[in-house]
């Protein structure tokens, strides 16, 4: 069996006011990838291409060993998909939806569905029309999770949810990963959610992947170094520093290639290092996007 859940290789899609350009991405089995980007960055387009809902203009897409979009019907047996803008049928009850999905997927796990009903505090007899946004999202995820698909593709599943609902959903997604044959691609512009559950991170901006690696690498490589410049000392330009903000004698250097040598190099140049700070995923994301955009303008 192929050990990769999905691959995108040189994928492009042209729209009148937006281009998805040369997207390369790989998600190994047993991993959960947070797919982060600002609004309009191309997250949903990429995910729709992965689902075969939108056909790429160029490049190769393979999901669970199936070429997309040609083999989408076969691939979707093992993909659970939920997106922020996906709705269930208002006029039908959750129970009807559960019976509908169960009639299609032999993998439907009824005891697990019952457990999720309790955990998500959902009433199966209730019509979708009467559910809140959070309940609708949880209902859609219940239908996806109870099928026990090998790959979950979730487009902004926690957007607009209250903290309790978000916590419930993230907990379920974490539980899914106890089975190392299953994988999740999880798009969001909420970096806290992604930081909490992902072990792989991909940043996308303006239709291009700007960085993709495991979460630990991100957290290890990005640092903010606060320094003080004694009079007459200039801050040296060091490799790996992508941003410098200076105010008088104080400066903050941001690096995406921290290896412990950088503070010593500053000290050697006469700069006093006050602190080396770790960065949150959100700070890394913002710096990454800004760096990428400045590079594009340069």
């Amino acid at each position: 069996m192929n050990d990769v859940a999905l691959t995108l290789d040189g994928v492009g899609k042209h729209y009148k006011f937006f281009d998805l350009d040369d997207v390369r991405l790989e998600l190994p089995h047993g991993h959960i990838m947070g797919f982060i980007g600002p609004n309009g960055a191309g997250k949903s387009t990429t995910i729709r291409i992965l689902m075969g809902l939108v056909h790429q203009d160029r490049g190769e897409v393979t999901v669970l060993g199936h070429r997309m979009p040609d083999q989408q019907a076969a691939a979707k047996w093992d993909i659970g998909f939920a997106s922020e803008d996906m709705r269930l049928y208002d006029a039908a009850s959750l129970d009807w939806h559960m019976r509908f999905i169960r009639s299609i997927f032999p993998s439907w796990d009824q005891p697990y569905a019952q457990l999720l009903l309790k955990r998500f505090d959902l009433k199966p007899e209730q019509h979708i029309k009467g559910l809140s946004h959070g309940q609708r999202t949880k209902a859609a995820l219940l239908l996806v999770l109870a099928r026990r698909p090998r790959l979950l593709i979730l487009d902004e599943p926690t957007t607009g949810l209250d903290p309790v609902a978000r916590h419930e959903i993230l907990r379920e997604l974490t539980d899914v990963m106890s089975d190392d044959r299953r994988s999740i691609l999880f798009s969001s512009h909420n970096t806290q959610d992604v930081e909490q559950i992902s072990d792989q991170i991909t940043f996308i901006d303006r239709g291009r992947i700007i960085d993709s690696r495991d979460k630990e690498s991100f957290m290890d490589r990005w640092r903010r170094i606060r320094v003080e410049l004694p009079s007459g000392v200039q801050l040296p330009a060091l490799s790996g520093v992508i941003d410098i903000k200076q105010s008088g004698r104080l400066a903050v250097a941001t690096t995406n290639a921290f290896d412990g040598v950088l503070p010593r190099a500053y000290e050697a140049a006469g700069v006093r290092v006050q602190a080396v700070e770790t960065m949150t995923l959100e700070e890394i994301f913002v710096e990454n996007v800004q760096h990428s955009r400045e590079g594009a303008h340069a």
Binding site: L53, V54, A73, K76, R87, Y89, A92
Partner: protein
């Protein structure tokens, strides 16, 4: 083609459209019942009611099962199931067509059959067939546009344009000899009537075939 899954999707659409289908079916049966009273007033009401029922059916089904599904953001849910775009198209066309045909045929056969059995109004049957077939034509055009274009606005424009086609019946009555044929106690299948029927059937076949053709070339589904 995954026939089992297509069948599930068809049953799903029937279930979600059950209320208008039952109401239209009941109205159609009521209009046929009125014909048995054999009075001119009730007969006229029956014909108008039966025609209205089939016109409503031709509009409501594509709106409910295709346009609303997209408008209410249900399409992503359906397309997340293990189906190809062509299987989705097949489910929509077959599901809509079968639901429409069952009710349309029941109402049309009921009304025209009752007229033919009177032995007095048999001449109305060929013209009645042209009239009855028009909602079928409108239904197929609307279904085709709804599936292919996926736009509520285009569906509305199609409804408006096809509504105009109903007014052409009055022009048909200017065809020499036709008014006399209508008064005949038995059905007369004249050349103009047969040409009209052939034209309508051609539009039905072409619109359904073009639906599959355009869907097979479509690149964005949600």
């Amino acid at each position: 083609m995954n026939r089992a899954l297509i069948a599930r999707l068809i049953l799903k659409d029937w279930y979600l459209s059950r209320l208008p289908l039952v109401l239209i079916g009941t109205t159609g049966m009521f209009s046929i019942g009125l014909l048995y009273l054999r009075r001119e007033v009730t007969g006229t009401i029956a014909l108008i009611t039966a025609l209205t029922a089939t016109i409503l059916l031709s509009i409501l089904l594509p709106l409910q099962t295709v346009v609303n599904e997209r408008k209410q953001h249900n399409l992503a849910f359906v397309m997340s199931l293990p189906i190809s775009p062509l299987e989705y198209t097949a489910a929509k066309v077959v599901g809509n067509l079968s639901a429409f045909l069952v009710l349309w045929a029941a109402i049309t056969i009921g009304v025209l059959g009752t007229l033919a059995r009177t032995g007095v109004f048999g001449g109305l049957v060929p013209f009645g067939m042209v009239v009855a077939l028009e909602p079928f034509v409108v239904f197929c055009l609307l279904l085709s546009v709804a599936i292919v274009v996926e736009s509520e606005m285009w569906a509305m424009l199609t409804m408006g344009a096809t509504n105009i086609s109903y007014s052409f019946w009055f022009l048909l009555l200017k065809i020499p000899g036709l008014p006399q044929e209508l008064k005949s106690p038995v059905a007369i299948w004249s050349r103009p009537i047969l040409l009209m029927l052939a034209g309508q059937i051609s539009v039905i076949v072409a619109s359904l075939a073009l639906t599959f053709y355009f869907q097979s070339r479509k690149r964005n589904f949600v």
